[in-house]
Point group: C2
Chain length 605, copies 2
């Protein structure tokens, strides 16, 4: 047989795995103009089942990529949660209903459910719009990271050598390719090949809880079949997750007898069937009846709660998503955690590849996302235990009460919605001047607020003006420029911005507006000022001047943005927003030097 | 030479002209499943210039076809209007700014501007999604309407014979086709061939005002360049219409000397140029300066204000859009009037073609739209005169003052936004029970209002639940069903709806929900009732039950819909909404016989 030489090629970023984490990674990088490839071992995209809950912060992130409308068109919205507990008459009864999202600042105060295949399809289309296709079925067979210190320190080197094998090669022989990558993202799921190749361990343990999942279109008299419903019965717990169309998902608590193979002691899908799952569920639903019109998908699983010991090797190979954290699906967190992982990582890689930032920036990925993953496991353990335990009743006084469960549900609301996610101080989270924007928590995502454009009084949600375009946003809250003294302060700030020793020109180069998006928001009213009144440096485009004022019908812009943010209406402040939408720092006009220092700590000239 | 026999074919509806009126006609018919063809004499779609203002009601109609998001993505929004008048210092100064839309119930309180080519492209894509392409360049060369009474009375006959000629035929010979159509819509513009072929006259006259139009990207210090601005100067009037991107349109008042050929006494484009138009405009702008970065398109026109004497021949051939009304473009009405013409017509044709309605329904098109066209001419005459006359000044005390102009602008607000359009009583507008929904004016479009879905507390704008799908909507405002007496009334109503002698079954046939969309809206609160509490006839789907209650965060649904509509919260009412979104009739529960009579007057069993 002839010796076939493998193809060799270079790529800036190789993404391994085209699930939610991988698709977000590749999409985000492609949108940022990064040379990226993405491979997946599956010959086709997911058709049914798997993860399907999209939380409010994830929706905000989707919107920042211009994709939310697809999810709104196709998905189901969850606004209400119902709780059912044992009734004195036998069976269960409704003990309360509350809002599904307990996070008052969420721009979208609901969860969207949609099957994973549809979610992936939206991202595949988005990727295709940048000319990137998922290569499949392709697997990595070996990966070597250079040990050469010099090579590893050069952000433009290709120190990762990955051998890929195309499983679909026509000749009967696998088609092999050697890829030299600058960076690799392993988004290859709970059984991550990349993680194993790096020898990274998972920390944590398997719990005793076993659950079944059943996707179906039901026929039922259960009044909350279109609400997220937590049924805590004496015959096991069950959770209802309504989905697109008339579909629902049931999470059904199982016992060892139901699901464990006594010989192996392990969860055994062979012991179960859709019919058996349904029999268990029916007991929880009693006195309500439920019957599938159509069963779409089912599975069973044991809950493992684990976090990877590290999230990268030398900031050259990263793992993300299920590859670095596994937990119960009932909290509706998995896909969200996975996508926000790579949303957090990709702008950092883009900055390094563009030569804008030092490689040290990449260390903040593990720092920020591993802490989050640990919080996620804590939530999952607490919540799973509460939901898996027996409900309180006359016979079981020590069981979980409606009040206990409700309190846990509400208190985790900020976390589970993703809205409360808070990155700790680091090179890119500087809390020094927090008091100058007291409600805009540094390290959290920027609060939604509607302002009007000075030039045409059109209202805009600020989140829509700072899209995920891999650039830092510098929001100059200009204060009230009808005050002469404030206008003077603003002019001084403008002069500094124009000087080469300060960040805007120092790191922005010849065209600072390519690296930084400078948006100016005044507390003056539209009757008082025109966009043309602002110094030129603040309006690279006339549209960059906003006012914290009511729109012409006072419907969506209320003129309360400064108050929402806790910024002084007279004196203003500068707010730096990271490319992923999180507040990076705040500074009064006079402390431009602190902003210089913030950027100096990771940006390169 | 051989004799070529022309192709012959049948079609249900032939639309002649693929401008806004024609595209809306074909799109709407195609969406309703009607067999439709559309031809246009232009070899390509419009690339620049022409109409570009989309008014609030038009935006609501676009949304009802699911198209608004395209316009929001691509178009510019006008929220503010600025008025400039002569300054005592010479030149002009700003005398006031107000909201661009003076129609408090408008769902979208702004105007969208976008060039006609982009607007047409959106409709061409929409049409293509139903498999319909505009055939071009194709012209009609002859049209004959059968004189056979029997044929004309048969709604399924093909009494219109149109000869079409394909101007792009390859053989060197024009490709001729004879089309036998059930109905023809002439949407072929101000010089309509169809209108002339029918011998329909235009009534009205040419005014003395001559205007220039200039589309460009400006460089200017004019502070309202991104607002609709009416500049009333001593050197002529000028109107600024900001458009997508950084483009603007200027309407520039001209004198006879500027624009009329003294030999012919007619407006002569040869006398003008973009440069000359700009010279005139600059005088109006003084002391502000304006200079084009780029000129996109320009033209000049004299204003003719005319309405066709009739809008149809035997309800078999209709004319619509500019073919039946011409007027000044400055009011931003033309495209809107044209598209709403065919939006009004198409559901009626669809009903007749489906065998659901009598041909007499088609008479309401001329009745409703000719009255509207006359109102439009009245507005245009008044507004054009005010804007074309000299402004008041020391020397010209009798001129138009800022206050006069502003008052006219505001008082026409309901009309120009399209929101106030009111169809007079007819077979499809029955005002008998107006008092039962005192604020929901019968003959006007249904007021926007947000309700929540009983099954999942998700808020919905009612306009989004009654799309333009060529079906009547029956909104049952169920009142407060927690009151036993009201629940009894509702049950009685439900029983009637289930009986064959009443409209729902009588005209709805075996599957009434195919002909009528039945939506039930209760004033009871989500804490009090479940969707499953309503009698089955009211929930062909669980989602058809709404509540007039706050959403879970009280953000968009306020629970004030009954009050907005002037409907009694305890006792409710039935509201019939026409397929085009206009309120057709209202009735108390006990007067189902009146609803029967309403539908009997034009529907067939």
């Amino acid at each position: 047989m002839p010796v076939l030489l493998a193809k060799e090629s270079d790529v800036d970023v190789l993404v391994i795995g085209a699930g939610p984490a991988g698709l977000m990674a590749a999409s985000s990088l492609a949108k940022a103009g990064v040379n990226v490839r993405i491979i997946d071992q599956r010959p086709n995209k997911v058709a049914a089942g798997q993860a399907d809950g999209l939380q409010p912060r994830t929706l905000e992130v989707f919107q920042s990529y211009g994709l939310l409308h697809h999810f709104e068109e196709q998905g189901n919205q969850l606004h209400m949660v119902a709780f059912y507990n044992p009734s004195s008459k036998g069976g269960v009864e409704r003990t309360g209903r509350v809002q599904a999202i307990n996070a008052s600042t969420a721009r979208y105060p609901f969860e969207i459910t949609l099957h994973q295949g549809a979610i992936e399809a939206i991202f595949l289309d988005f990727l295709a719009s940048f000319g990137v296709q998922v290569e499949r079925p392709v697997i990595p067979t070996s990966m070597q990271l250079s040990a050469d210190e010099k090579e590893l320190k050069d952000p433009q080197s290709h120190p990762v050598k990955v051998t890929l094998q195309n499983l679909d090669a026509k000749s009967g022989q696998p088609d092999t390719e050697i890829v030299h990558a600058k960076y690799v993202i392993g988004a290859d799921g709970a059984h991550s090949w990349v993680r194993k190749a790096l020898g990274i361990s998972m920390e944590g343990e398997q719990s005793d809880y076993i659950w079944g999942v059943l996707d179906m279109v039901p026929e039922t008299d259960f009044p909350d079949i279109r609400n997220k419903s937590a049924i805590h019965s004496n015959n096991g717990s069950c959770m209802v997750i309504p989905r697109e169309g008339d579909k629902i998902r049931l999470y059904i608590q199982l016992t060892d007898t139901d699901a464990v193979n006594p010989l192996t002691g392990r969860v055994d899908k062979e012991k179960m069937s859709a019919e058996k799952l349904l029999q268990v569920a029916k007991k929880s639903f009693y006195p309500y009846t439920i019957q599938p019109k159509e069963v779409e998908w089912w599975t069973i699983y044991g809950i493992g709660q684990r976090v990877a010991s590290k999230f990268s090797a030398n900031e050259r190979v990263f793992i993300a998503g299920d590859a670095c954290h596994t937990h119960s699906p009932k909290g509706g967190q998995g896909m969200n955690a996975s996508m926000i992982d790579t949303h957090n990582l990709t702008w950092k890689i883009a900055h390094v590849l563009r030569g804008w930032a030092d490689m040290s920036l990449l260390k903040t990925y593990e720092y920020e996302r591993r802490k989050y993953a640990q919080d996620l496991i804590y939530f999952d353990k607490t919540f799973s235990a509460l939901f898996s335990e027996k409900p309180a009743s006359e016979e079981n006084q020590g069981g979980v009460t409606h009040e206990q469960f409700l309190e846990a549900f509400l208190s985790f609301g900020l976390f589970t919605s993703g809205i409360g996610i808070h990155y700790a101080p680091s090179a890119i989270v500087n809390t020094k001047h927090q008091s100058h924007a007291s409600n805009l928590i540094i390290g959290q995502r920027i609060l939604p607020s509607v302002f009007i454009r000075a030039a045409d009084a059109r209202p805009f949600e600020i989140q829509d003006l700072i899209p995920s375009d891999a650039r830092f946003k510098v929001l100059v809250f200009a204060g009230d420029i009808t005050e002469v003294s404030q206008m003077r302060r603003l002019r001084v700030l403008g002069e500094k911005l124009g000087k080469p020793e300060h960040f805007y020109n120092k790191f922005g180069g010849k065209e600072p507006s390519a690296a930084f998006d400078l948006i100016t928001i005044s507390s003056s009213k539209k009757e008082q000022v025109d966009a043309t009144d602002f110094p030129e440096v603040f309006r690279p485009h006339l549209n960059n001047i906003l006012l914290d004022d009511e729109d012409m019908h006072a419907r969506v812009a209320k003129g309360t943005g400064y108050d929402t943010y806790g910024i002084d209406r007279a004196r203003g402040a500068v707010v730096v927003v990271r490319p992923d939408g999180y507040v990076g720092m705040v500074a009064p006009f006079e402390d431009v030097a602190d902003i210089d220092q913030y950027f100096s700590s990771f940006m390169t000239v």
